[in-house]
Amino acid sequence: MNPNETSARPELSAVDRREFLRLSGTLAAAAALASAGCQPPQEATIPFHDMPESLVDGLGPARFFHTVLDGSPVLVKTREGRPILLAPSPNDGSGRGLTLRHHAALMDLYDPDRARGPLSVRRGTGAPVASSWSAVASDVASRLKAAGRKAVLLRGPASGPALGAAVAALSERSGLREVVWSPLGSDAAREAWTRAFGSGRVARPRLDRADLVVGLGSEFLDRPGDGLEKDFAARRSPDPADGRGMSRFVQLEGRLTLTGANADRRIRVRDSQLAAVAAALAHELVVVRKVGPLAADAAVARALAPYAADVVARQAGVPASVLTGLAAELAAASGRAVVVAGGSASSAPSGPALEAAALLLNLAIGAFDAGLLDRTDAEEPYAGGGAALAALAEEMRAGKVELLLVAGVNPVYDAPVSLNFAEALAKIPWVVSLNDRLDETSLLADVLAPASHPLECWGDVSLPRGFVAIQQPVIQPLFDTRGLLDLLVDWGAAVDDPAAVAAVAAARAALAKPPLPASAAPPPSPSVAWHYLRAAWATRLGHEAGTPAFDAAWNEVLRSGSWQGPAPAAVGTGLAPAALALLAGLPPAPSGLELQLYPPIALADGRAGNNGWLHELPDPITRITWGGALSIAPRRFDEMKLRNGDLVEVDAGHAKVVAPAYRHAGMHDDEVALPLGLGRTACGAIGAGVGPNAFPLRLLADGRVLAAGLPVTIRKLSGNEPLALAQGSDVIDRDRRPLVPVTTLTAYEKDAKAGTEQVEGGPSIWPSHPYPNARWAMAIDLSRCNGCGKCVIGCQAENNVPVVGRHGILDGREMSWMRVDRYYDAPKKDGRWDAEVWDGPLEVVEEPLTLFTPMLCQHCENAPCETVCPFVATMHSADGLNQQVYNRCVGTRYCANNCPFKVRRFNFWEYGKKQESALMRALEPRIKRNAELNTRVPMQMKNNPEVTVRSRGVMEKCSFCIQRIRAATSDATRGGRKKDHYPDGAVVPACMEACPTGAITFGDVNAPGAKVAALAAHPRAMKLLESVGVKPAVSYLTKVRNDKA
């Protein structure tokens, strides 16, 4: 070794004992300190005091109940005695359907802004003061007796036999008069059918039997409560195997509605001209082609004379050839076609004429005889009651009313401005509001006696086809409220109506007795309405109340959801000449612009104005959330050099409204439209002040409330209120972006794979993972999907998805796991569309071809989100699911960026817990609003305990309702069944459950004979973005448009 490089070796004993102890001592102390600090929090586990017998059978914690809400039977899923999800009732025979308000009803039930108990409002002179039920009930009882004829009950249209009987008894005993007011009543149809057949009952169009449906401004998909969307969807499948082939739907309308968007052919006609056009069609059929039984009737010919096709063509701006062509099509399909009206256009001045013309057309093409208009299945549509309300307002002004009971209506908000209802209210000595909160009308009342939410109290409802359903409570009343029936029966007893007196006595007796130990018979409920109902139903069920036979029958009605009564009498056949008179005096169409006021699909009449889910659901057509806009035709919009959100003043003469402008595709150039149900001022913290209130613009003319065909002028104001649009671009150029499989029926019949062409994905260099056992997949049939959005709300309710509010949508922080994309299809063009196709050129949006695509996590097999998550928070499960583990996610958000479908949602804010610090709320006002929308008691009672409520900083997405998949696995384990394959229906995700038309099919694609496997293999099936090579698990079946005239 070179002496220059000597090296000395360290002695290991250099570190003495004392130093080693000092070092290790400090480390041990640190570790001990760390462990002591993090003891888990002490939690209580509180059992039952006395477990009710019915809970012991261990069918799983969720309990299901049938009840009825807003006139439609509903299946309610409850956990620990509180409802957490509403779904369509599986065995409902009445043909009713659920609206979006049904699916979102939990937000109304658990609404923190509901009145917590009776209040004496003192007409807004001072702050409302709490009072007690005993004071309120007795006071009203005494005033009832005193007022006699001068007492009026103003209530909404929905009622049932028991409620009707109670009110009848009251009015008979105390002279109380009843006035029914419905802001969305359809009087035109009633008037036309009453004149034609003597009874106001309208027969139900059987869209499932019709080969051709012609809509005259019809909105049966926009108002799904009637249940027609299920029938319509039954005939939209192009596969012959599914029944009698695909129906064809032609719609004539002024505004692009959800119904019109699903039409195979759409003709733009102004609302006021629609009646004339319908009459022209009738003229063409009856007078010119002599089709149908009416051809020989001279009176009909005389009534239709002025509506020759060419005359109306010039007047309405619709080419005569279109009218004659459509008439020819109707003639060819007579006996197999039906004409449907009853949309917003029917609330125009020419509404009754339109309905009469539709009636004539149906008679001409023999729709009644062919059973396409079911004579036995006819219902009386809600009466508008415009005349009755006007009369009441006069009486109130004249001082003839001493006591007014308001139940479930809000005339101060939604009555036409000409009635000036608020001023009339001031003239009544005593006003009692039974609404559920201090809304616009209750603020001007003396006493607010809040009625319970329908899910909290007893009652019954008469349904179509002779069905009657019992409305049973699925939760104890959250606040100090009483059921409407309870109140009426109490007051009935006060005016000693024998049935009411008996019910009250029985209820008081039930309270006195000690609670019985759990036994088979239902314990007597302290609710007066329960006893009254059982007495009323005793006659109906044919057993004596209280006998075991009656109890069994009563329980069976509660279990099955409804009771089948005798079918109502058929509607008459002979056409009375009075209907023809409607066609005579057709009011002239307004020369300039006309306004249509329509009930938006989610909020309808605005009763659910404080419902976060409904405000946040993007309108299926306009995609606007949190507010409404004045829809203007694209051509007029561009001529006025407007931009979305520019403020425009709508002047209808008797009232003015300022609203942001919206470029509404498919709108007739001379028509503008405003949604109703918005602009609530006193509905609660969530919905107050959202959107313009269009109700005052409505006119009252000869007893009917006119909401369409109103002459208006619009004027651009300065300023812009940005629209909270939930969608980036509206137009899609399917040549370059084949993202929606669409084709026509003729193309489909030639080539079953038509419409699914896209750029092929290359081969994968990696071998794919094996999925030997169950593998979950979904198929969505775009022909059946009509874009209603119920799946979106069903998913939000099941998976505790927070509400982000208007600021959330504008900031691009929407949280809904599912969205229904609405595209306008840019037609094929020889030279390709260049860049500005995304701005919606006129030739695309004037006559739009609308496409709907429910978009959710595709659970791709080669998921790009899984490769980029560094924290192992998302990966693929053995059964083909893209797992998202909330407690492992740290929030890099790379997975959301890398998802080609952009379906991942990030919790930018803390939606689960309220943040206390006032300083931070001052720095960021959005935090206060988030808390207002999500974390106020009792809103969180709606949460599903089987799904984690995510904290901030965590990514979330559709999990294919993993909680239901795991529940099915546990059931299989408990049942000892093998878990390698699951039969169809073992797992039904919330979206599939909510979908009214069965467009969504989910299941184990590896199971033998699985429906989803058949659909995925169907030539119509297409998986999106094949060129990106992600291999999604969701396949979309082509939307087929029936172009066979």
Binding site: W766, T867, M875
Partner: protein, 181 residues
């Protein structure tokens, strides 16, 4: 080696070329325990002082290999052996994904290892008795200092001093142990 209080002799030069020539002379004269303290490295000084090239590169190669093994070992253990999962349909051992970290670990171990080894080697590989720290050699400013340690087998204080002076060094002085240390 007789115990003497003097530790060695110091002398400095003003230019690097002078220092190079002097180093050759000292090496040829047979001195072993000598060292040159310079403000900056002088090219060719190793041969002039009779030392071999530095062994650091070999250490670097070994460290680089360790880095590669560590990275591949870690990644394959985690992704293939301990808990293989299905990330985006890729095989468990998607080797292209392992390359970046393998390269980074190789650079990490090689670079930091080399720096540590260089410092430790530099500290251990000194002349048996380096000039006492408090002696103001000026080597870090502008002088090229020659230091011959008393531990050298040929050590004779007078002879060493005259030899260094004969090389033309400036400021030549004997450095005693206690006194003016």
């Amino acid at each position: 080696m007789m115990p003497t209080s003097t530790k060695g002799v110091l002398g400095h030069f003003r230019e690097p070329d002078e220092a190079l020539a002097a180093a050759a002379k000292v090496r040829d004269a047979g001195w072993k325990h000598f060292d040159f303290l310079t403000p900056f490295p002088i090219h060719g000084m190793e041969e002039a002082m009779g030392q071999r090239r530095s062994w650091i590169p070999i250490a670097t190669a070994v460290l680089a290999a360790c880095g590669i093994l560590f990275a591949q070992g870690l990644q394959n253990y985690v992704m293939v052996w301990d808990w293989p999962m299905n990330f985006g349909g890729k095989p468990h051992a998607s080797w292209p994904a392992f390359i970046p970290i393998t390269f980074e670990a190789m650079v990490f171990w090689a670079a930091l290892g080399t720096a540590l080894v260089a410092i430790v080697a530099g500290k251990r590989d000194t002349v048996p008795q380096p000039p006492p720290m408090v002696v103001e050699t000026g080597a870090t400013v502008d002088r090229f200092v020659l230091w011959i340690s008393a531990t050298d087998p040929k050590w004779n204080p007078a002879e060493a001093e005259t030899f260094v002076r004969s090389l033309g060094a400036q400021g030549v002085r004997l450095v005693d142990g206690g006194a003016d240390a």
